[in-house]
C-alpha cells in the first residue's frame, strides 16, 4: 500500500471537513436533504479524482478534452458560475420578501390628510 502524497492528505482533510459541514447543516435544518446529497456527491467525486486521477483523464477523453485536470477546471468554473447565479436569485428573493414586509407595514400605517 502506497503512502498518501502530502497534497492528497491536505485535500482529504478538507473534503472530510466540508462533507461533515453538509451533514451538520442538514441535521440543523439549514439545508434540505437533496442539497446535502448534492454536496456529498460533489465531494465523493472529488475523493475519486484525488485518489484515482487517471479516471479524470478517461472522462476527459470521453468529452474530447486532453487532460483530466482540464475537465475538472472547466466543470468547476461552470458549476461556480451556476452557483453564483443561483445565489443572486436567492438574494433577490430575500430582498423581495423584505420589501413585501415593509409594504405591509406601510399600508397598515397609512397617513390620511385631514
Amino acid at each position: 500500500m502506497s503512502f498518501l502524497l502530502p497534497i492528497q492528505f491536505v485535500l482529504l482533510v478538507f473534503i472530510i471537513f466540508a462533507a461533515s459541514r453538509a451533514v451538520l447543516q442538514f441535521k440543523g435544518g439549514m439545508i434540505r436533504f437533496g442539497a446535502m446529497l448534492f454536496w456529498l456527491g460533489i465531494w465523493a467525486v472529488a475523493v475519486v479524482a484525488i485518489f484515482y486521477p487517471e479516471t479524470t483523464t478517461q472522462f476527459a477523453k470521453l468529452l474530447g478534452i486532453g487532460r483530466g485536470v482540464d475537465v475538472i477546471l472547466y466543470v468547476s468554473i461552470a458549476i461556480l458560475f451556476y452557483l453564483v447565479f443561483r445565489l443572486h436569485v436567492y438574494l433577490e428573493d430575500i430582498r423581495s420578501e423584505i420589501s413585501t414586509l415593509i409594504r405591509e407595514i406601510s399600508l397598515k400605517d397609512v397617513k390620511k390628510k385631514k
Partner: protein, 227 residues
Amino acid sequence: MKNLIIIPAFNESAVIETTLKDLRHSLMRDKVKADILLVDDGSSDNTGGVSAPHVDYLLTHTHNCGLGAALATGIEFARRGGYDACVTFDSDGQHDASDIARALEKLESGYDIVIGSRFVGSHSGMPIFRRVVLFIGNFITFLFFGVWTTDSQSGFRGLSKRAINNLVLKSNRMEVSSEFFSEIHRLSLKMCEIPIHIRYTKYSLGKGQKNTASMGVLIKLLYKVFG
C-alpha cells in the same frame, strides 16, 4: 371613476413641494378628480414630512426598497382602496400633470394600460446618448417580453382597474419599468401610448435613471427571465 395618482419618492425634498403644488393646480384646472398618494421610499431628507400637507395619502417605507417596490406599494394601495384607475407620476418634477387627463380618458375608453412616451411627438431636450440607451432598452424589452414600445423606461403610466387588480410586480428597482411590459404580455393587457411633455432640468437628469445603470437593469432582467 375613482382615480389615484401614485408618486414614488426617494430623497426629493428639494423639489417635491413644487411638484405636488403643480400637480394639484393642474388637476383642479383640468377638472380631474383624483386622490394623490405619495410613497416615501425610506427617504432620509424628510421628503414625507414636506409632502404630507400636499397629498391625500402618505405611505412610508421604513427602508429604501427601490422604485419597483414603491410602485408596487402604490398599486397595492389602489387595489385595496377599490380605485378604478391610477397614474404613476415621477416626483422629480419632470412630468407635466396636464398629461394626466389624457391618460385617464384613454383608460375610460377601454385601454388597460397607457404608457406616457417621450418619443411619440417631440422629444427635444433629451441628450442623444440617453436616446440611444433608451432605444436599446426598448429593443431588449421587446426581445424578452414580446411587447414593442417607444419608451420602455417611462415613469408615466396609466392603469385601469383590470391592470391594478392583476399586475404582479416583483422587481424592486429600476428594472420594474421593463417588468410592466412582461405583465402586459402575460395578462394580454390592451395598451396604448400617448405623447407626454418632459421638463428636462439639471436636477431631473441628475436624479433619473443613469445611463451607466442600464447594465445593472439588463442583468436583473436576465435573472427575471432565467432565474
